[in-house]
Symmetry: C2
Subunit: 377 residues, 2 copies
């Protein structure tokens, strides 16, 4: 359980299979985000049909609503949502650190006010483990100290060092929780250190000194830094990340980010952009982007993306999708979200095939050229 099998490489790019309690995940893979135990606006069947093998849920939000003990009493996240495949929960760290003015950070943990009802709460590394254990996803993330995207060395170092200390506490508490059910949930650490090469290296060294992990996450990227900086950090990390476990680049990304990340050895991605763009009527297509509300689509009987196999593209015309957005019917949001999710999942599937058959580099370069020809990022 939790093992990762590396099947092929193409440079740093990897194809593998991860075994989790609720099923297999063939990597590279994109994980749709189900913040509130629902991929925004989508039915679990929509997400399954889009080909998702694993989805995320959000510890901070579910702790507040409906509460982890409610989810636990209802059989855990999989049963609660009827999603029967693997799940991963984040630690809540990113959210509580984002509550500017509503939170107090100490070595103990983070005290904060709920953004919903103003109640005072605390999440410590131990509490994060307890919440995630109650939620019951296949993979739990460590509670980490998150610093702003381009934090100076001193601040990034403080966050990185504290994240290591918190990792020890997470591991101890998770071990206690999982002692009678060791095949239930894996705990993955998060590499921090901002954009500083020395800190990133010390972070991964510290992580590896503290245990043997079934997966490793890379946090603190895609938070405002230039793309070349993200690529450099990934390139510096790649040789020192364990090869026998999946690498998860948190909060990334857009289509091009997936290919750039895969080329640098990343196996797993998550991002809300697919559903957020979908709700705003922006569709990713092979040739860039389409604004679904645009007048140009009014009489367009063709599919959103002629090369896409998603439910939306194989069923509805651009004209009908535009009509749904103009008429403000929520079916439009759903259909474009389904397309965008499928778009990223299909991109990862194709990358996997190309890694396996040895054509990843050429294909990836050509795909990016075409997708970005009209300025899409």
């Amino acid at each position: 359980m939790f093992e990762y099998t590396l099947e092929a490489t193409a440079g740093a790019a990897r194809a593998g299979t991860l075994t989790l309690p609720h099923g297999l995940v063939q990597t590279p893979a994109f994980m749709p985000v189900g913040t509130h135990a629902v991929v925004r606006g989508l039915h679990p069947d929509d997400v399954r049909r889009a080909g998702a093998q694993i989805i995320l849920a959000n510890t901070y939000h579910l702790h507040l609503r409906p509460g982890e003990m409610e989810v636990r009493a209802l059989g855990g996240l999989n049963r609660f949502t009827t999603w029967d495949r693997p799940m991963l929960t984040d630690s809540g760290g990113f959210q509580v650190f984002s509550l500017e003015g509503l939170r107090t950070i100490s070595e103990h943990g983070v005290a904060f006010q709920s953004h919903i009802d103003g109640t005072y709460r605390t999440i410590t590394p131990e509490i994060s483990m307890e919440i995630q254990w109650a939620l019951g996803a296949d993979v739990a993330m460590q509670f980490d100290h998150v610093v702003p995207g381009q934090a100076p060395h001193e601040l990034a170092e403080e966050g990185m060092e504290r994240s290591l200390r918190w990792l020890e506490r997470c591991l101890a508490r998770h071990h206690e929780l999982a002692v009678d059910a060791p095949d239930t949930q894996a705990l993955w650490p998060i590499v921090q250190g901002g954009t500083h090469a020395d800190l990133r290296r010390r972070s991964i060294e510290g992580i590896l000194a503290r245990g043997r992990w079934k997966g490793t996450a890379i946090g603190g990227l895609s938070v405002g830094e230039p793309k070349p900086v993200m690529h450099r950090v990934l390139e510096e990390l790649e040789p020192v990340l364990p090869r026998d476990a999946p690498r998860y680049l948190m909060g990334v990304g857009f289509p091009a980010d997936l290919l750039e990340g895969i080329a640098r050895g990343v196996d797993l991605f998550d991002c809300v952009a697919a559903t957020r763009n979908g709700r705003h009527g922006t569709a990713w297509v092979t040739d860039g982007r389409v604004n679904v509300k645009g007048a140009a689509l009014r009489s367009d009987s063709g599919p959103l993306d002629p090369e896409c196999d998603c439910e939306t593209c194989t069923t509805f015309s651009r004209a009908y999708l535009r009509h749904l957005f103009v008429a403000e019917d929520m079916l439009g949001l759903r259909l474009v979200s389904i397309h965008n999710i499928r778009f990223l999942i299909r991109l990862a599937e194709e990358a996997r095939r190309r890694i396996l058959d040895g054509t990843f580099d050429d294909w990836s370069r050509e795909w990016l050229r075409r997708h970005q020809a009209r300025g899409a990022t």
Copy 2:
């Protein structure tokens, strides 16, 4: 084509089958409303799985957006929406007469300002036929003069008489449009006359004097009058309505209205309440109603209605549905809308079975007693 076969009766209640260009409709039946060429928030597959045999679309709204010529260029309503079963369009009359202060009524027709962009437009009986022909539903409704629900005799008489004159004009124009494709679309007249028995009788007599119709609609009910008044009007009309064509009670209704209407000889119903209530978190259940947002559902692992076979009830718990509403995720609106639509369709299906097997009266009485025991209407 367009023929109705009466299969069984139970008192005034009827079971029959209507043959339309896009398929059969077994009656009694509930028709979900797709105002903007979409049953609010639902995928055509959702509506098909709920068992809908026919849906409505709205002439006024589609005339304004996207425009009937756009729909026609995209292959007509069925192809535009991918809904492959029968459809019916209303005439736009109800909507333009509702545009208080924005419309001017004359014998010619109704001049009005679009509620969307303020443009000046006119719908006449002829134009209504042309719009509906371009939209291409199986059934078109006559353009009628709508008066307020409990209009006094003089006003109701004026509307009824004008509706008869407009029916002649509708028929003439529809005949011209359909001359080369007579099996494409049927035109149904609308009985008006408010709550006045003499006017209702003169209306149906006038309608029958003007043609032989494949269906008859009853307009101007369920617009604020007490339920017993609606029931009286239906009872007075029943003996004089043609037996060899379906009777459609427009804009009705709630679950109890369906059974009361069926008992009085009505075959077809439509109403937005199913989806509107669904969006507001009110679910019809066998034992009355459930407020899906209610705190009582927080830990409830059971289905919305244990006796329902809909996709929502066979998949999700009340606790998860409540969570979706509390988290304001649109999946909740969709799931409760699906349930409510299925609830009405299933009620009509069961009524049909009971008419066919001779147990309608007892079953209907018991069903109403149970459903209304806690005050649901």
